[in-house]
Symmetry: C2
Subunit: 626 residues, 2 copies
């Protein structure tokens, strides 16, 4: 390798050389890997060269410094460029850069927080910008620090509605601390993008979303320099730099040619390209150091002691919906200064409105845009806040890809979905979450909680504040009897045996509303002289294997599992997966097997076969089993 | 009830009366139900009155007439208005209208295809318009019929990115046969919408998306009339009627007042309102009858005989990726004239490009907009086509809410997700579907298929063409040995025993890539004198209970289940759910338990613990179990 160490300067000729180095390195590491996206990196190389040479304020030695700018590659497939940039700023060595995409390397196919400078995993297009909006919201309204959020987007991903949800909120919340850089290289994976180089369409849209568009030639360094510079002085509006670029720029054999997306150059071609681009360089750039400052929100917490949270409590005679208890508990958790909340325009139903009214400065109304709702939570998690995002449980399905990616990003977010199951009644199946437990259980790093009682809900909400990963809680629309006293304790991975005797012949397992049905059924079974153990499986993931095993032992594996959820992948699956190696279970599984309609909650639970009388029938049959 | 039958005329005074009737009936049925959204109905009553009196061409006696216009309530919560309209056109009686939201009534809380005039279930906001775009695409490019697609949207849902994905495609595909009517009543569920009555923002956005916006006062009947009329003569562009309206219009006590979303009026208030609105009416309107015509696409199929499909076949020595076989089979299925396809800008990876190149007229490039991708499929299913939509399996998670709603809509769509699991290798976890089996299994009416071999893939693709409901197939990136001959048969709910002997001591269960690992493991186990049965569980939902039971009997419940998927809710859950009542299983469950990185497929399968050697270890341990 030619060693051409150069002192960092910021004259544009140096920046030009830096851009060429980024291209060369993008080619080198992807050719070494035998896969990757060099051409998508080459189109954006000049944009990134100008950014890191002149505008980005970042202390690479301290990636968690709250004053750092943020740089998110929404087009995560330009990872070769990202890693080439890390080499140029001295964060990784050339040797490490060359481990790209190899097993065991932290430089994965798409960037992930396996490396400390990456805020979030990208690679599912249309997500980086929404998350950047979340970070920028934190910067402007919580941290109140001057850091800038830069986001590199591809043009293919501009077809995703989530990009426009993001720009909409960026405009609405006047995020002048955000710059989206659109790398309009015209070519997508399988041909021309929807609008090719018609940058005017993007300009008009950005404008219509309350952003300041700047259309430039993305290889004209002076123009790039001016555009990025102007975005720092933009007030009241986010900037959208719309850069017309050439895919594969710098190597005429592949420049602007179809068929070169996501392909490493073969070694001989790579050699020619590197030569064309001026050979291997080793330029180093010193990015600007960020200004000092302390996040405003955190400053409020003067003491180092843990903040005192006084949870709401409920009396045995109270009937309080778990969604209401969630709202009460969230309000109490406001004592923790880094607890923040956001909702999708249904806070009067989820009861996040209690927090919203009392702590306007820490509540973000995202309106009916669930992808941006979750992205905002992820962005705030990047800045170390403890976000609680709420909407109807059914509508988190709108953001499922964002939740999936949040798991890969190792984000710490809390999602609370209300109005779950047929229990919601008259509104009908469009508003019923009947697949949320299955889908949320299958998320990496997820915890799934489903309380049945207000005291329990309050305790679980508090637990969630301290949880890492994706914590999901399902709350219920209706109000049911209070089961637990305010001093009862709960834990992630716990379960409660709410009825038991040594003579138990069958175990009834429910959570949320079906726990109440199980308790009613146990009463009815007692009259039939069938002693039934009742387990509250409030922690659906992870499940309490020990309590389940003990119940299986006592009731010789006779379980009636009842869930207000479709039969697949829900509570019964959680139990059976936990017992996989044990064997010996004999499960009657009551779940929502058909498509529900409208009706009262009781009518719909009867129709679905999950109400007390059906539990009694199933348990009676199972108890008779030898 | 005052019986005021009036002959249908279309003078505007009659239309005004009709609008008042729609309001009165919206109030009546929701007050009788004790829940519902009368105020959201009242704001749009004049819009719908003009539409049905003067523009909608619809034969209510023949809802499946291909010449009918389509009317989709994207704001599904305005269901009282929808049902009041059905009464006004004579499709339902007043008595049936009054069963709204009651158990057993087909007039559910939000409209569903339980009634024949409803194309799709709505109620999850931001979905009706994308589906309307799908219907309009079918109208313009497949049916080539003059029917018009009308879609009533709320203003709250304009915050959903999916609305803009839809308008983007409507503009791009020049759907002048589509009119979106935006009921801008300023108030959402919990207060003012993001932009209130700032109709200019919506105007500029609609314009930027290639649509013709018309801003009107939605209670000025002349203006409404002109706007709807103009949309029929609009060429080359969809029309977006932006109607400023008043929530609760017609009853001053609640007009434009917060706190009245989703609330039925109490009986006394309802009485006052009905009086204010001129009392109960019984006006009937004869909507225009549609022009006659025959769908162009279907006409191509001159004969009444079933079209002959010649599936591709593969030799034992071929190594062909299942995604490639899918592309080949889809191309063969083009012999069926109502097979259509769409892809999210990755058709060269999913191999839908074979169909796209050969049948440009039946292929729709949706670019990277997975919500619109699924919505397009649903819209074409409304028109009786057999859509196959494809993208990377991971990215269907972007459209999970649309898939959930498609299940409720009883749509018949086929989704094919390629590049599933850690098997994809270097691209890393953002591109790996590791939760798709769990999430897709939990969809109402879903079928989940996961082939391992090209002949099988071709057969299953053909089966999918005939399936009702949501059929999902997971295909694999890499090429593996061909297992089956071209004459092998497969069925939904089937499984194949690919290795067996009466001495089998353990059963290995895999599907897709893990079936190949199971076969390798069985070879290795044979050398250790452990006879292993191998089951190809290609139909993950429904599963073949009989084959599994027989295997459990022979191998005394010893199952090694191997899946390239997170442990929750996937193949093992499918098996265990099927055995719930049986008991006796002893399952070693090999799945992707950590967060994968980049690497070769083999490295990643090893790291995840799902490769042959780990299957051997698990099977050996299990076989030794008493």
């Amino acid at each position: 390798m030619a060693v051409t160490e150069t002192q960092a300067t910021t004259d544009l000729e140096f920046v030009r050389q830096l851009g060429q180095q980024l291209r060369v390195d993008s080619i080198r590491c992807s050719t070494a890997a035998g896969s990757g996206h060099p051409t998508s990196s080459m189109s954006a190389a000049d944009l990134i060269a100008v950014l890191i040479a002149r505008y980005l304020q970042y202390d690479w030695a301290h990636p968690k410094d709250p004053n750092n700018d943020h740089l998110i590659f929404s087009k995560g497939h330009a990872s070769p460029l990202y890693y080439a940039m890390l080499k140029a700023v001295g964060a990784v060595t050339d040797a490490e850069m060359m481990t790209f995409r190899k097993f065991g390397s932290r430089l994965q196919g798409h960037p992930t927080p396996a490396i400390p400078w990456v805020d979030v995993a990208t690679g599912s297009l249309g997500q980086g910008l929404p998350i950047a909006v979340g970070v920028a919201l934190a910067g402007k309204y919580l941290d109140k620090l001057p850091y800038h959020v830069w986001c590199l987007c591809g043009d293919s991903e501009l077809a995703e509605g989530s990009i426009w949800e993001a720009l909409d909120k960026a405009g609405f919340y006047e995020l002048s601390n955000l710059t989206a850089i659109l790398d309009v290289n015209r070519l997508g994976q399988r041909g021309e993008t929807e609008y090719g180089w018609n940058t005017d369409i993007y300009r008009r849209r950005a404008e219509a979303y309350g952003c300041t568009p700047v259309v430039i030639d993305g290889h004209d360094l002076t123009a790039v320099d001016r555009a990025l510079g102007s975005s720092l002085s933009n007030t009241g509006r986010p900037t959208v730099v719309i850069a017309k670029t050439i895919k594969g720029k710098g190597f005429p054999e592949i420049e602007n040619k179809d068929g070169w997306h996501g392909k490493a150059l073969p070694p001989d071609m790579a050699e020619r390209a590197i030569k064309e681009l001026g050979g291997i360089r080793n330029l180093k750039i010193k990015t600007g150091r960020p200004e000092r400052g302390t996040p405003a929100q955190k400053r409020k917490d003067g003491s180092s002691a843990a903040p005192k949270v006084t949870l709401p409590t409920y009396r045995k005679e109270d009937k309080v919906a778990t969604r209401k208890a969630y709202g009460d508990a969230l309000l109490a958790l406001a004592a923790i200064p880094d607890v923040v909340a956001m909702d999708g325009e249904v806070s009067n139903s989820t009861h996040a409105d209690e927090f919203a009214h009392a702590h306007k400065d820490r509540f973000f109304e995202i309106y009916i845009a669930e992808q941006q709702l979750v992205a905002t939570a992820v962005g705030m998690s990047v800045r170390g806040y403890k976000p609680f995002a709420s909407t109807f449980a059914a509508f988190f399905s709108r953001a499922y890809d964002f939740i999936r990616m949040a798991g890969i990003s190792q984000a710490n977010i809390r999602l609370v979905g209300s109005h779950a199951g047929v229990e919601i009644g008259q509104d009908g199946p469009s508003q019923m979450a009947l697949e949320d437990i299955a889908s949320m259980r299958a998320i990496h790093s997820s915890t799934v909680l489903y309380p049945s009682d207000p005291n329990q809900t309050a305790k679980l909400t508090q637990l969630m504040a301290g949880l890492d990963g994706i914590a999901y809680m399902r709350t219920t629309r209706g109000a049911y009897p209070t089961i637990y006293g305010p001093n009862e304790t709960f834990k992630v991975g716990g379960a409660k045996v709410v009825r038991q005797s040594p003579k138990d012949r069958v175990t009834l397992i429910g959570a949320g509303v079906t726990l109440h049905n199980c308790l009613d059924a146990a009463d009815a079974l007692a009259k039939k002289r069938i002693a039934a153990r009742v387990i509250d499986l409030y922690s659906v993931k992870p499940v309490d294997v020990k309590t389940l095993r003990e119940a299986a032992r006592v009731t010789t594996g006779r379980f009636v599992i009842v869930e207000d959820h479709y039969p697949e992948g829900g509570i019964a699956a959680a139990v059976m997966e936990a017992f996989a190696e044990e064997g010996g279970l004999h499960v009657a599984h009551l779940a929502v097997k058909g498509l529900p309609t409208s009706g009262t909650p009781q009518e719909l639970m009867n129709a679905a076969g999950i109400s007390a009388k059906q539990i009694v029938a199933a348990a009676t049959k199972l108890a008779a089993r030898k």
